[in-house]
């Protein structure tokens, strides 16, 4: 007579280390991006973070397919959650939407604005002394 006894997962099917590696890669993603901020295309695309998050999530899902234990499945969900949070940060929260003029302007519109002492500064007058680097920043807070 054969009894259907629940057996422990054979060691060959255990994937907890793989699942942990997946989470580790996902958590490392923002740091990888921060390290690449000096490289323009890595900075603007977030490629280092996407690569680590994608790899981490794939490892997590592969682990959960082979090893159905709750902890492994939870870790796969954690990977997916981190990927979604980063996607929201990247495309939602942190996304800026400059208007077309920012890229389309061929010449800099002239203006007069007060400096920090309240003295008026006129762009065309500054340009008569040479090139100008005009920096727009988000303010001081």
């Amino acid at each position: 007579m054969i009894h259907d006894v629940p057996t422990a997962l054979p060691p060959s099917a255990r994937r907890l280390p793989l699942a942990l590696l997946g989470v580790l890669l996902c958590l490392a993603a923002p740091f990888a991006w921060a390290l690449a901020l000096n490289v323009p295309w890595l900075r603007s695309t977030g490629a280092p973070a996407w690569l680590l998050l994608g790899t981490g999530a794939l490892l997590g899902l592969a682990a959960a397919r082979a090893d159905r234990r709750r902890i492994v499945r939870v870790l796969a969900w954690v990977d997916t959650g981190l990927l979604l949070v980063f996607g929201w940060l990247f495309f939602g929260f942190a996304a800026l939407h400059p208007q077309a003029a920012a890229e389309d302007l061929a010449r800099a519109p002239d203006f007069t604005l007060p400096d920090d002492d309240g003295r008026p500064v006129t762009l065309s007058k500054e340009l008569s002394h040479g090139p100008v680097l005009l920096v727009f920043y988000r303010g001081h807070w």
């Binding site: 991006w33 901020l37 000096n38 323009p40 900075r43 603007s44 977030g46 990247f90 929260f93 942190a94 996304a95 800026l96 939407h97 400059p98 208007q99 077309a100 003029a101 920012a102 890229e103 389309d104 302007l105 061929a106 010449r107 800099a108 519109p109 002239d110 203006f111 604005l113 007060p114 400096d115 920090d116 002492d117 309240g118 500064v121 762009l123 065309s124 340009l127 008569s128 040479g130 090139p131 100008v132 680097l133 005009l134 920096v135 727009f136 920043y137 988000r138 303010g139 001081h140 807070w141």
Partner: protein, 85 residues
């Protein structure tokens, strides 16, 4: 869009060697297509970070306009653009 007094404190604290201008109404920010409505503290309007390198004739030799809060031109990029003028 800080008022001059805020900039004055910043210039003094950081000993800035360049001039910091104030566009409190956002008129210039708008003309350059850089308004970020509600992006500042307390939902105030601020500017999208950007840099324009201008030739003496007013033409734009190089620019960097941020698409992400974290996306700023690295100093080396700006310096390279200045060197290439």
């Amino acid at each position: 869009m800080d008022p001059p007094a805020t900039s004055h404190a910043l210039v003094a604290a950081e000993d800035l060697p360049f001039r910091v201008l104030s566009d409190t109404t956002g008129d210039v920010i708008r003309r350059y297509g850089l308004l970020h409505p509600g992006g500042g503290p307390g939902g105030t309007d601020i500017a999208v970070p950007a840099q324009f390198l201008l030739r003496p004739d007013g033409s734009i030799a190089w620019r960097h306009v941020s698409r992400l809060i974290q996306d700023r031109a690295a100093p080396a990029e700006t310096l390279a653009a200045i060197a290439a003028l």
